[in-house]
Symmetry: C3
Subunit: 203 residues, 3 copies
């Protein structure tokens, strides 16, 4: 179980590093800058979760996360200079990363004694904050705040996970169900362009 | 006294969430994104103070702050879609939030043993950092850095509070006087357009 | 040795505050806002390092750093309004600050038990993160991500420092050699316009 979580976390870190590289690629940023944006994208959400929970920051304690993020970032950097990649190639992996990070984050927060409603938001923080930091570094309004359901899917999945655990479902089953729900909701939202009402003040 | 501080903090959190919604409303951000910007605006200053002081983050320990911020954010989101609100409706509550957050932050920093000059800046961080994060998320130069006295009023009030306490004034009285000073300075600055000299390098 | 590190850190803080003022000067930011940007520039990197390492934040524990940053910031603010400064006046001090912060950050991370590869990146964080925050506050794509070698020089120097220490070189000598390498690499990069390959995706 511990090894499974480690493998899942590693996969999510790699995928998020890839999205960081792709985003940074639209800006005049050099190779090392791209690596730093990729690291922020991959490690930012979990870092913020760990700071808020006052627990050791996961990638400072175990450097394999840092190595994985850099390897994924550099590989992507090289790949996109060689090959024309379809623009939607990473939508499914990104949705998977969102699902995995959210559930890991929610689970970790509950383990550290956070109240359940706070835990659901720490799941969202883990899932989306890396992407928010990536967009801030690239001087963009964060993408997760608009367009097809993203942060919303993350939060709904975190709440589902908490509800399942409270209803007595075993942790691994609850995690799989909730992660699948986030993953499929995100893909469905992209496919059918599902959005929340956008803000429009009377002026 | 503890209950009074809790009530004041809750009020300041609610007011700051409202300003987050109003700011986010000028950007293409969906409902959940608006809620996240409101949360950042309401909780960001106190979060940074708690991280810097190595104390438990206030809204992770007690989820009523999170609930209050979300409730205020969603209510504002609905309200501004129904009613045309006067643009200056929230200037006074925002000034009140600035005053309350600053004094709570300075007081907390002193309680945790920060040197007095550091404590005054942690008061400013508590008072203005939520607004700074709100503006960064919305991809704007932070408003608190320009225009009528804002961060300046916060810092002057924090120093006044520290001076009063050192002069032997009781904590509650010192807090009320300093908070009133910040509140009135901010309102006076808006009314008479009081500003600090702006930077203008010889080029 | 402790006093030397303190003096070096103080110098790096002052220099970084100056760069913060110069950057903020291109924006409509008032005097106190300029001071806050200068503080962020000067203290941001070390703050992030300390948060990631779960150690007390250096400027909260000892307020002389805060005082030094503010004094340097205000002095620069006054100076640039009086005198036409050559644009490249601060390139050498800035390179010195980068070198000093990087080595102090790497050293601190190793002292606190971070794995060596993580320690090299915490050195980079200490060296460049203040500048990144400064640019984010001023709503710019961070300068350290592009142009002549900057973050790259910082990381290479951190790795050199770790390698020298592991090879048995005394700490002070290793620090001097690695800091000199960063400083000279940065100056050489500016002089000969040395850059890393920039990202350019096949589209």
């Amino acid at each position: 179980m511990g090894e499974l979580i480690f493998a899942i976390g590693m996969g999510a870190v790699g995928v998020s590093a890839v999205t960081g590289v792709l985003e940074a690629g639209r800006k005049p940023i050099d190779l090392f800058g791209v690596v730093l944006v990729a690291l922020t994208s991959a490690l930012g959400g979990g870092t913020m979760r760990d700071l808020l929970l006052e627990r050791p920051v996961f990638w400072v304690a175990d450097q394999s996360y840092l190595v994985a993020a850099i390897a994924a970032g550099v590989a992507t950097f090289v790949l996109v200079r060689l090959v024309r990649l379809p623009a939607n190639l990473f939508l499914a992996p990104d949705a998977l990363g969102l699902a995995l990070f959210t559930i890991i984050g929610t689970q970790t927060a509950m383990t550290y004694g956070a109240p359940w409603f706070v835990a659901s938001f720490l799941g969202v923080v883990t899932g989306v904050f890396g992407g928010v930091l990536r967009d801030i570094l690239c001087n963009e309004v964060p993408l997760v705040f608009s367009g097809e359901l993203y942060a919303t899917a993350s939060w709904a999945g975190a709440m589902l996970f908490i509800g399942l655990v409270r209803a007595g479902v075993a942790g691994t089953s609850a995690a799989l169900i909730a992660a699948a729900a986030i993953f499929l909701t995100r893909l469905a939202a992209i496919h059918w362009r599902l959005t929340l009402p956008s803000f429009s003040a009377k002026a």
